[in-house]
Amino acid sequence: MKQTTTDTASEWLGAYLDGELNEERRAWVETHLASCADCRAELRSLQELSTLLRADAQPATSRGFTGRVLAALPQKMGARSTEALPRKAALALRWFPMGLFGLWAFLEIVLAASSLVLFGLGFFPEGMLPAGAAGYGGSLNSWLSGALSMAGQAELAGMLETAARFWPSALMLALELGAAVLVAVLFLAWLGGYFSFRRAQAGNDLSQ
């Protein structure tokens, strides 16, 4: 039991010497020290070690140290701020293309799924559909144009019929193009940002 207490106290002696223990723990160590010769010897040994370490002189810096440091600093402020790009921002810059690829894949999947749904509902020109695949969309269009014809709006009904045949494919095409343009613009923006960052870094390295 005594040995266990001594082992525990021994673990705390360094922190005791450094003044890093809270009041309760310090009081416990002091109570233990009063009754344990081994721990008192250990504490003395730690004190001697600390004295020995701190007594060992360190070399003085040579004359002109600060001047040399200042002369070596990057002169341009911009260079420093790009070099000091926060870690998170630097990581984001590095992983941006992967995120872009993910975005592109996501958009393609959504567009493909939407096309399938529209295809299933019959929202495509007749030539694009397999025979007999009119679907709900086709029926809806027919019903709407029929209703307009009956109401004496034959021209409007014709326009609706034509639009109903072509708008889904036109919309899908526009969305597809929009997605491609968005991804391309983001990629070019990243490329520009990345290379200007690299150039600024190279400038910094040279100036050091």
Binding site: S50, L53, F65, P86
Partner: protein, 177 residues
């Protein structure tokens, strides 16, 4: 000018303010890097590199944290990098260099002891050595060391205990030789 004002000015690109900070922390940083790498010449280069890195990262420094702990951490890492780059320098060689740097009038015994201490410090594993150096020569508190190295407080204490224990053992063995 107060330290926080100097740092704020340096963050805005004022090199004179930064020069003042370098003057204030020069001895401390050199002390840390010297204990980390054991070679006075290498220590000065590493100290210079540490101040350059600190300047480059100054934008990321938050004023509410102790500047001393922040710059000492950079110094310890710069010293370790310098050691990696200068691998051929053995701890023994480094200790001898350190001893030789002492003034000619210094007692032989003192030089030998300084060499022994530095040799023993250099023999410590880098994580324990870093904690010991930041505590003994950097004079950082345990919580400052924990924050500077991003390690738990308990790890600081255990590394420090291990370092001191190994150091005492090494010094006893050296004296016995």
């Amino acid at each position: 000018m107060g330290e926080k004002e100097l740092i704020a000015c340096a963050q805005r690109g004022d090199t004179h303010a930064y020069g003042e900070l370098v003057e204030r922390y020069r001895e401390g940083v050199v002390g840390v890097v010297y204990r980390m790498c054991g070679d006075p010449v290498l220590a000065e280069d590493a100290a210079q590199e540490a101040f350059l890195r600190a300047w480059q990262r100054l934008d990321g420094y938050k004023l509410e944290h102790p500047f001393r702990a922040w710059v000492f951490r950079i110094a310890a890492n710069a010293a370790l990098d310098a050691l990696r780059a200068e691998k051929p320098v053995s701890p023994l060689e480094a200790a001898e260099n350190a001893a030789a740097e002492s003034s000619a009038e210094a007692a032989v015994e003192q030089r030998q002891r300084a060499g022994s201490v530095q040799r023993a410090v250099m023999a410590l594993p880098a994580p324990s050595r870093t904690v010991l150096v930041l505590r003994e020569w950097g004079q950082l508190s345990y919580s400052e060391i924990a924050a500077a190295l991003s390690i738990p407080l308990g790890t600081v204490m255990s590394r420090l205990n291990a370092a001191r224990s190994q150091l005492r053992q090494a010094l006893v063995e050296m004296e016995a030789e």
